[in-house]
């Protein structure tokens, strides 16, 4: 019993950090919110569990595969140098097999649940691992667009599983996530500018300037709030929830403008945190509407 407990602890210590739990959880929540937004039979427990399980495995799988591919630059950047692949605690081959196995299980599960849903989940993984990480991340700062597109796939997939089709609401929800991603990633690239520079990864701050990056963050914040606003109308959010979303959107916009007017480390990272909170809140509103 003790041996088993110890083995579980080791697995948790070695493999859990490969999954980026917070990011995975947030994307998983978007997928569930997308499903709930369809007001489909949300009490269909097997489908909800299938959605959560297949998305969790697919998103985790793509994260592990990204970390496997990026292990060389992760080792250079102080922020990521403590990751298990960088320290050698997990061998590259182990991580690759782990990532591939959970990805294949996740995608297969998704395809069995619903072929169209499965294709979208697969597209998310393909855009994230192949297009974003392997092909573009080290070549152009614009790679984040593909990172954003893959980030929008879980919410679109959830919506498709609920409605059985790709509709304008699902696409708008995915656009909301796509426009939200720069607010999230670019604030990160400003804060860890030196890290990315050291690793030779092109980012907006290094390719253009900090001020241009902040302008893009402000513009994408506005576009994200507009997309979520339009999608919320399509979803049929209650009037009270719509007002709440407007208030939170104004907060995001004001903070983005403030970071443009009086740039500072504190405001930049505050924007990063608020953007995450904004996304979580928007998803919870969709979720409660579904219930």
């Amino acid at each position: 019993m003790n041996k088993m407990r110890s083995s579980l602890k080791t697995i948790k210590r070695k493999y859990f950090p490969l999954v980026k739990s917070l990011q995975t959880a947030l994307l998983l929540i978007t997928g569930i919110a997308g499903y709930m937004s369809a007001r489909c039979p949300v009490h269909n427990i097997p489908t909800v569990l299938g959605l959560a399980g297949s998305l969790l495995l697919s998103i985790s799988g793509s994260t592990v595969l990204n970390m496997w591919y990026d292990r060389d630059i992760d080792a250079i950047m102080p922020r990521t140098s403590k990751r298990p692949l960088s320290t050698g605690e997990v061998q590259p081959k182990e991580a690759l097999i782990f990532g591939l196995v959970i990805s294949v299980i996740g995608i297969s599960w998704a395809l069995v649940l619903d072929p169209l849903y499965g294709i979208i989940v697969f597209a998310g993984l393909f855009f994230d691992v192949v297009v974003y990480t392997i092909w573009l991340k080290r070549r152009t700062a614009w790679s984040i667009i593909w990172g954003g597109i893959s980030g929008g796939m879980p919410i679109l997939a959830g919506r498709v599983l609920g409605t059985g089709q790709i509709d304008w609401v699902g696409i708008t929800l995915a656009l909301g996530v796509l426009f939200w991603i720069p607010t999230h990633i670019l604030t990160f690239s400003i804060r860890y500018h030196d890290d990315y520079k050291k690793a030779g990864v092109p980012t907006f701050p290094s390719t253009y300037s900090f001020q241009t990056t902040r302008l893009i963050i402000a513009i994408s914040s506005v576009l994200a709030t507009l997309a979520f606003g339009a999608a919320s109308y399509g979803v049929g959010l209650t009037w009270g929830f719509m007002r709440l979303l407007v208030v939170l959107s104004v907060g995001l916009f004001v903070l983005a403008v403030q970071s443009l007017r009086s740039p500072s480390e504190r405001i930049t990272f505050g924007l990063f945190k608020y953007a995450s909170l904004y996304m979580l809140s928007a998803m919870l509103l969709m979720f409660f509407t579904g219930i």
């Binding site: 009037w239 009270g240 709440l244 407007v246 208030v247 903070l255 505050g270």
Partner: protein, 201 residues
């Protein structure tokens, strides 16, 4: 500047959640003007609570805080006037807009004394309305007795507003540390009183 503690963050989180509840469920079935007035008031409370959690009390250093925080009493008092004294809603709307503009302009252009007087007058009128109107209405029996809690919230908003206004004006009534220590609890009590008070309406 005092560092924000875990307890402060928890109190602010509950403040934000109560404000979010009020926006979502507490102000339905009203006309557009009171609906949006209350939304702005509780919205500023919600976003301010979240920003304090994220940025800490250092977030209060900006001059913009004084201006934006004035929106809370101005918009809630406008909502009350529009709801209970509809014949005065447009004159009061004009007062609220002009008062807000005067605070914003004097904060950046006028000397400190003028800016403080403008702030105290505008804040004082709005705060008095929130404090006394619900109490008078409940004494007159025009609203349920529990509605007087909105007046209690008004008194708390007045206390908080004055403490912060004089602190920002460089003439603190209490020490900065003490004000920042009681601020999260004050905000939570105020929002709780508002939510419960409005629930009787």
């Amino acid at each position: 500047m005092k560092k924000i503690s875990v307890l402060d963050r928890i109190l602010l989180l509950f403040t934000g959640l109560l404000a979010a509840y009020q926006i979502s469920f507490g102000i339905n079935e009203l006309n557009p003007l009171p609906t949006w007035s209350y939304t702005v008031g509780f919205g500023v409370l919600l976003v301010a609570g979240l920003l304090l959690i994220i940025l800490g009390f250092e977030g209060l250093e900006s001059q913009a805080v004084v201006i934006v925080s004035t929106l809370i009493p101005l918009s809630i008092s406008l909502g009350l006037v529009a709801e209970h004294l509809p014949q005065y809603k447009y004159p009061y709307l004009v007062f609220a807009v002009l008062g807000f503009a005067a605070i914003a302009i004097t904060r950046y252009t006028a000397e400190n004394k003028t800016a403080t007087i403008v702030l105290a007058v505008t804040h004082g009128i709005a705060g008095s309305l929130i404090t006394f109107l619900p109490i008078i209405l409940s004494i007159q029996g025009k609203v349920p007795a529990g509605y007087f809690l909105v007046g209690v919230a008004g008194a708390l908003i007045g206390v908080g507003g004055l403490l912060l206004a004089f602190l920002k004006a460089g003439k603190p009534i209490l020490s900065q540390k003490l004000i920042l220590t009681v601020l999260p609890l004050l905000l939570l009590l105020m929002t709780t009183a508002f939510v419960f008070g409005f629930s009787f309406n």
